[in-house]
Symmetry: none
Amino acid sequence: MQARLLLVEDDERIRQALGLALADEGCDVVEAASGEEALGRLGTTPVDVVLLDLMLPGMDGLDVCRTLRDRGDLPIIIVSARTDTADVIEGLEAGADDYVTKPLVASELAARIRALLRRRHGTGEPRRSLRVGDVEIIPDEDVVRRAGREVHLTRTEFRLLVELAAAEGRVVTREELLKRVWGYDYFGDTRLLDVHIRRLRRKVERDPDEPECVVTVRGRGYKAGTPG
Amino acid sequence: MQARLLLVEDDERIRQALGLALADEGCDVVEAASGEEALGRLGTTPVDVVLLDLMLPGMDGLDVCRTLRDRGDLPIIIVSARTDTADVIEGLEAGADDYVTKPLVASELAARIRALLRRRHGTGEPRRSLRVGDVEIIPDEDVVRRAGREVHLTRTEFRLLVELAAAEGRVVTREELLKRVWGYDYFGDTRLLDVHIRRLRRKVERDPDEPECVVTVRGRGYKAGTPG
DNA sequence: GCGGATCGTCAGGTCGTCGTCAGGTGGCGC
DNA sequence: GCGCCACCTGACGACGACCTGACGATCCGC
C-alpha cells in the first residue's frame, strides 16, 4: 500500500509501538508528539492520512482536527480513549472521517486506513503524481502536464515516461525499458525504443534538441532528468 | 441533511426501530429485508448510503457488499453484531467504508453517515447534482441541464454520464463502464458502448465533433472532461 | 394495433498509433 | 583526423480502436 501517514500522539511509548505496528502493515509512518508539531510537519511533508490522538499537550486535539479540515480535505482518523457516543459525534463533527477507540488493533486500523484511501481515490491507492522537472504525471487520469498545460501522450509514450520517472533519476537500461514496456526479451539492437523516445521528447521537452527530462546515457540507456 | 439511505436488515423489529430513529435524525430511509431485495431496490431508487447488516437470509451480507462495490462506489456502512477484529477487517476489505457494531446508537450512526457523505461530496450534504463542465446532472430525474437548458437523456445515457461524472476526471475503462451500466462481465470487444457514447455526446456536447465533456482515452476508456 | 422511444447489432469509414526502415549525426577510441 | 557504432530523425504502411449512420427488435402508452 505504502500510504504515508502522520501519527500524532504524545505518549512516546504508545507512539513508537503503534508506529512500528503500522510500519509492519506496510505504512510509511511519520510521527509528531503534539498538535503544533503535526501542523508544522504537514507544511513540509506530503501525507496521505492523519492519525490523531485527542489527548494532547498544548493545542486541543479537536482544534487540530478542525484546523486540518479547514485547510484541506486530508483524511483524518481520530484515535481516542474516550468511548462515549457524545465524544465520537463531536470528533466526527469536527471533521474526522473515522473515530476508533483504544485499545487499538493495528491490523484493523490499517484496514480502516485502506478503506478511507479507497474512498478517496477510488482504488485504495493514494493518487500520487510523479514529476520530472516541470512535467507532472497523473496516472489515474492518463494525463501529463508540462508547466500546467495538458500534453497528450500515447499509451506507449506514457508507460515509457512512467518507467523513467519511477526510477527517480537512476539510469534505466534499454533492455529494462524494452522488457517493462513491451515485454520483449530482446537481445541485440532495435530502433523501436529510440523512435518512441524521440516521440516522447517532442511532446514533453521544452526544446526537443536539448533534452532535459529524458536524458540519453550513451551505451547504457536513459534516465529522467534531475530537476535540481 | 436529508440523506437517502437504504437500510438492509432482516429482523423486522430492529429494522423499524432503527429506521424510525434515523428518520428522526433527518434521514430519508428506504428499507430492505434481504440482499436480493436491496440490490433490486438500488436498480430503481437513487440512494446516498447503504446500511448493511451482515446476518441476512439468502445471499451473504459480505457478498452483497462486494457486489455493490463492484457496481459502483456507493458508500456502505456495515452494521453487525460480530465484533472480532477479523470480522471488521473482512468487512472493510469487502468494500465497506465503515463497520459499526451492535448495539447501535442512532445519533452516532447519523454522525458517521454525515462524515462519509462529507468525505464523498466535500460538504456533508448528500449529492443531489453533479457537474461536468457546463453540464449539470440531477440524479433524481433522468434530466440534465446544459447551460440552463434542459436536456433529456435516456436511462442508459444517463447512467453512463453519471459513472463518468462520479469518477471526477479519472479514466473509466470500457470494461468498468460495461460492467457498471450493463452488468456485463467483459464481453470481448463490443461497439455497444461506442454507440451510446455517441448518442450521449450528441445531446450534451456543445459540438459533438469536438467532445469536451466525454473524452475518449484511446486504448483505455473514457473520462469526464476537466473544465479549467 | 399503431406509433414513438429506446436499445442492441452491424458494416463501413476514419484516424491515431505503432513498428520498421534508411539515412544522418555525433561521440569516442584509435 | 578517421572510422565505427550508438543514437537520432523523418517518413511510411499496416493495423486496429474508435466513430458513424442505418436498421430491426422490443417495450410501452394511447
